[in-house]
C-alpha cells in the first residue's frame, strides 16, 4: 500500500470486523513539531493484551486471528522507518484505538493519498456505523460526522446519485480547504 489513506481504510476495516458502532478517524499534521499522526478509535469488541501483541507481530499471528493479518505490522514498520511508532490501546468490551505517528517530513513517509476517497468508501459502504472524520493541519480543522447527514436524509440511501455527488464534494472540499486555506481575498468574496 502506497498511501496512508489506504492504511486508514485497512485499519478501519478491523474496527468494522470488531462490530464497532462508532468509529472516529483522525489525521493530524503538525508542521511545527514535524509530526503526522493518524488515529482510528472504535467501540468494537476490543482485545486483551495478548491479542494486541499478536496483532502487532506478523509472525505470531495465527490463522484464527483471520480478521487481522499483515496490515498492522506493515504499517508499524513503515512508521518506525520514519522515526515514528504504532501503538494499540484496547480493552475487551470497550473498543480499540490504533495510533500511528510519522515524522512528517521524512523522505520515506508515504503520501497521505486520497483521504476523501477513503472516507467516502467507508461512509457509503457502512452507513450503519456512526462515523466521525477529523482532518487537521496545524490549527485548521475539518470535521465530518455521518449522523447529521443520515438524519437529514431520513432513509434516502447514500448511494442516491445526487447524495453521492454531495458527499464527495463535501469531503473533497473540506479536506482541500484544510490543506490549502481559503485566501483572504476569496474569503472576503464569500467563496
Amino acid at each position: 500500500m502506497k498511501e496512508l489513506a489506504l492504511h486508514l481504510l485497512d485499519i478501519a476495516e478491523n474496527s468494522l470486523a470488531a462490530g464497532a458502532r462508532h468509529i472516529t478517524i483522525k489525521v493530524i499534521e503538525d508542521t511545527l513539531n514535524d509530526r503526522l499522526t493518524m488515529e482510528v478509535c472504535d467501540d468494537g469488541k476490543g482485545m486483551d493484551a495478548k491479542m494486541v501483541a499478536r496483532v502487532i507481530d506478523p509472525f505470531v499471528t495465527t490463522r484464527t486471528t483471520r480478521k487481522v493479518g499483515l496490515g498492522i505490522p506493515l504499517l508499524k514498520a513503515a512508521a518506525e522507518a520514519c522515526n515514528g511508532s504504532l501503538t494499540i490501546e484496547s480493552e475487551v468490551g470497550k473498543g480499540t484505538c490504533v495510533r500511528v505517528v510519522f515524522q512528517r517530513s521524512h523522505i520515506d513517509r508515504m503520501p497521505l493519498g486520497d483521504l476523501a476517497g477513503t472516507f467516502l468508501t467507508l461512509l457509503v459502504g457502512n452507513p450503519h456505523v456512526d462515523w466521525t472524520f477529523i482532518y487537521q493541519v496545524d490549527e485548521r480543522v475539518y470535521t465530518f460526522e455521518s449522523a447529521p447527514v443520515l438524519e437529514v436524509l431520513q432513509g434516502v440511501p447514500l448511494t442516491e446519485p445526487a447524495v453521492l455527488s454531495y458527499l464527495r464534494q463535501e469531503l473533497e472540499e473540506g479536506i482541500h480547504q484544510v490543506q490549502k486555506p481559503v485566501t483572504l481575498e476569496k474569503a472576503s468574496q464569500g467563496v
Binding site: 500500500m1 489506504l6 481504510l9 485497512d10 476495516e13 468494522l16 470486523a17 483471520r66 480478521k67 493479518g69 499483515l70 496490515g71 486520497d114 476517497g117 477513503t118 467516502l120 468508501t121 467507508l122 457509503v124 459502504g125 457502512n126 480543522v141 475539518y142 470535521t143 465530518f144 460526522e145 447529521p148 447527514v149 437529514v152 436524509l153 431520513q154 434516502v156 440511501p157 448511494t159 442516491e160 446519485p161 445526487a162 447524495v163 453521492l164 455527488s165 454531495y166 464527495r168 464534494q169 463535501e170 472540499e173 473540506g174 480547504q177
Partner: protein, 122 residues
C-alpha cells in the same frame, strides 16, 4: 459541524430524490458488494469502489445499494466485486479495475449482460 456544504443543500437533494422516486415504480434492486480486506485494498479496491460511486453519480443510476465486505478468501483475484440484480443469482467478478467496474455497471447492471471475461466461477 463546520461543513463546507450546508445540510440545507442535502435536505433539498433529499426532497428531489423522494419526488423522483414517487414518479417511477421500483424495479429490481441492485446490490453491489466490494471486498475490502487488506488484500482487496492493496489490489486497488478503493479505486474500484470510487469508480462505481462515480459512475452511479454520473449516469444517475437509481436503486443501487453499494456495500463493502472483508476478505472472502480469493485474495489472488482481488479486487473482487459481487453483483446481485433483483432475484437473479449473485455474480462474483475478479480483477475488477475501475475500467472493469464501469463496464459491469453499463453492461450488467444497466443492460443485464454479465461481463463474462471477469466472472470468477465459485
Amino acid at each position: 459541524m463546520p461543513t463546507i456544504k450546508s445540510l440545507d443543500d442535502l435536505k433539498r437533494i433529499r426532497e428531489e430524490a423522494l419526488a423522483k422516486r414517487k414518479a417511477k415504480t421500483t424495479s429490481g434492486q441492485v446490490q453491489i458488494t466490494v471486498a475490502m480486506g487488506t488484500c482487496g485494498i492493496a489490489a486497488g479496491a478503493r479505486d474500484t469502489m470510487k469508480a462505481i460511486l462515480e459512475t452511479i453519480a454520473e449516469k444517475n443510476l437509481e436503486g443501487i445499494i453499494v456495500t463493502q465486505t472483508g476478505c472472502i478468501g480469493l485474495c489472488e483475484r482481488e479486487p473482487i466485486v459481487q453483483v446481485t440484480v433483483g432475484d437473479q443469482p449473485k455474480v462474483t467478478y475478479g480483477k475488477v479495475t475501475p475500467e472493469v467496474a464501469r463496464r459491469i455497471l453499463e453492461e450488467h447492471v444497466l443492460k443485464g449482460q454479465v461481463v463474462q471475461d471477469h466472472v470468477v466461477p465459485l
